[in-house]
Amino acid sequence: MSADIVLELPNDLRAIERAVEYLLARCSEAGFDCDRVGLKLRVGVTEALSNAMLYGNARDPRKRVLVEATVAAESVTVRVTDEGHGFDPDSLPDPTLPGNLSRPGGRGIYLIRTLMDRVEFNERGNSITMVLHREPSGAEARSWPQ
């Protein structure tokens, strides 16, 4: 991935908000719809960074999280990579199924997959790439709150 934004974050939850605000500002400068991108990108990147710091890097303050992003004409792409061993994203249950609703975990990745237009993991499972298109799909345009 050839990124035009590269951030290397300490493994500290306090670093998340500033990184997210920076990415949102870059998207705003590029003319993205702030209301739509504001929620989707905020949720997606915040969840990915939280997962990387808490689970991937196991709260280890010596480790780092790499954020690579590209803001293009039609989409924004953000990759978050931690130093952990990775995980199998397909092993997570659907938290919205009736039997899983009251379970405490598993919602972060679900939210990312639901809100972003494309989500991919590397084979090791320690790097997630999220793509959000500038324009909503037809179905989303009809359902998204204005």
Partner: protein
Amino acid sequence: MLEIRVEPRGHVTVVVIQGSVDGLTADSLLGALQKEVAGGRTRLVADLSGVEYTSSAGLRALLATVKDARRHGGDLRLAAVTVNVRKVLDLSGFTSILKLYDEVDAAVGSFGAADRAAGEEAI
């Protein structure tokens, strides 16, 4: 940054929350809500009018409190939920297990005599 203020309203306790609920602040929210339940104040209303965003960590705090409150015969009900928070609640399926109200007064009033007697069904 998260600000939490507790306001007793008769037999109901309103917890006014302002800021963003994320991995950094969710523990503070959970601690404040659990303190109320532990103190016997199990009929809770969360005023979310000042919350612009919640992550899955915030959802976990709300879920844990709902379960805890209902186990003790009460409930946690949400009021004045902002558009962005509502969207996350909808996507997560939380709107099927939590009661939402447009206004804080309506949420407080929803705790009627039947609730005082029976409490919510545990989840």
